[in-house]
């Protein structure tokens, strides 16, 4: 059962990918969703605004970043941890 946070994130990602939320699966990669780096940056901005958090993602060097973006599930887990740390 997805958390409320997860559902919000999926809604944001789906909107950026121009899909419906039920088309977004946790095992999908950002590439599969058609995300380029700018779309990702825009999605992270929406997520940061939504949850009042800061996501440690550096678009200069996505591979070196501590924030795992290897799949939608990983992104959600990372955001959930940041939201939990904030609370």
């Amino acid at each position: 059962m997805a958390s409320a946070v997860a559902n919000e994130i999926i809604a944001i990602i789906a909107r950026q990918a121009m899909l419906t939320p039920d088309e977004v699966r946790l095992d999908m990669t950002l590439d599969e969703l058609g995300f380029d780096s700018l779309v990702l940056v825009e999605a992270l901005f929406a997520i940061e605004e939504k949850f009042d958090i800061s996501v440690p993602y550096n678009a200069n060097d996505p591979d070196e970043t501590e924030f795992d973006i290897s799949s939608i599930g990983a992104v959600i887990a990372g955001i959930e941890a940041l939201v939990a740390a904030r609370a």
Partner: protein, 384 residues
Amino acid sequence: MHETYAALIQGRVAIGPLAFRDSDRLSVQVGAEVKGFVPEAHLSRSELGFADRFAQFALVAARQAVAEAGLTFNDDLAERAGVIVGTAGGGLTTSDEAYRAVYAEGKNRVHPFTVPRLMHSAAASLVGMALGLRGPSFSVSTACASSNHAMGLAFQMVRGGAAPVMLAGGAEAMLCFGGIKAWEGLRVLSPDGCRPFSGDRNGLVQGEGAAVFVFEDYDHARARGAPMLAEVVGFAMGADAGDMVMPSRDGAARVMAGALADAGLAHETVGYINAHGTGTTANDRTEIAAIRQVFGAHADKLMISSTKSMHGHLIGATGAVELIACLMALRMGVIAPTMGHRVPDPDCALDVVPNVARQARVDVVLSNAFAFGGLNAVLALARI
């Protein structure tokens, strides 16, 4: 463009109450806003992400221009054709919103596309991307003369053989809280309307919008049977090197004379001047004196009008929008009026085509732009 022709002929004044966010906190309450503009109806989703309001206007204007010119850019042409957009404020509404977010609302982040949106060059980039133009492309920023400089450079590039086709014009969207608040400081804005050359004028009124034109080599245009609007025959630019805000009669006269010299035309050939005509005392009197200086006795035969009385001062886009009045004069033989003219000013005692459009055949027209900071640019166009 035909809607604009119709509005100019009717003398329709687009100046009205401002209706953007926080406008109630401004001491100036009037402007010529673009009403009913729905960006989503004109721009793709990815364009919307990167387009400030000024760039949105530019994209719409550029697409209209290319459609009206019947141009298709094949690979060879696309590689050589470019776009020059004049703008004074660039993505000012984007900066304004970002500052509001971090200063007024205490937020700690701004939208990630703030930088690509606010760049002055964003409009040129987006137009080039929309049309696939890969030739010389850039933005020009010379305050109120920006679009005349942009179009003049495009003209020179086409004439010089650097590009067979250039898109050029201007785009501006300064009607936001920060944009008008800054202008209030100079105390040159009118509280109630723009009345160029009228003895009771009390300042300029801000407008917004864009206009873009296709500048095309004559032989290239003729070979493809293009609908030609006019021939650009001359351009001159210069600097007063004098004052940051006060205009110079000699500086203005020099570029008007320069545009005619560039065209190789005698001053008696000119029938109409689309004046800079801001509705400030300093501009209007200086401009009329400069016209008298250049044209001598012929000044009394000229028709001179300022369409800013209708569409307001579009700052970096103003020359481009005003070029429509020049094209109307050349193509339709209709001179756009200076609206709001109520009281003669002995210092502006030339024919300023007050309040009513006039039918008149003209062969050559000038379009004046005299910017803050003394940067001047004048185009000369001829009937084709």
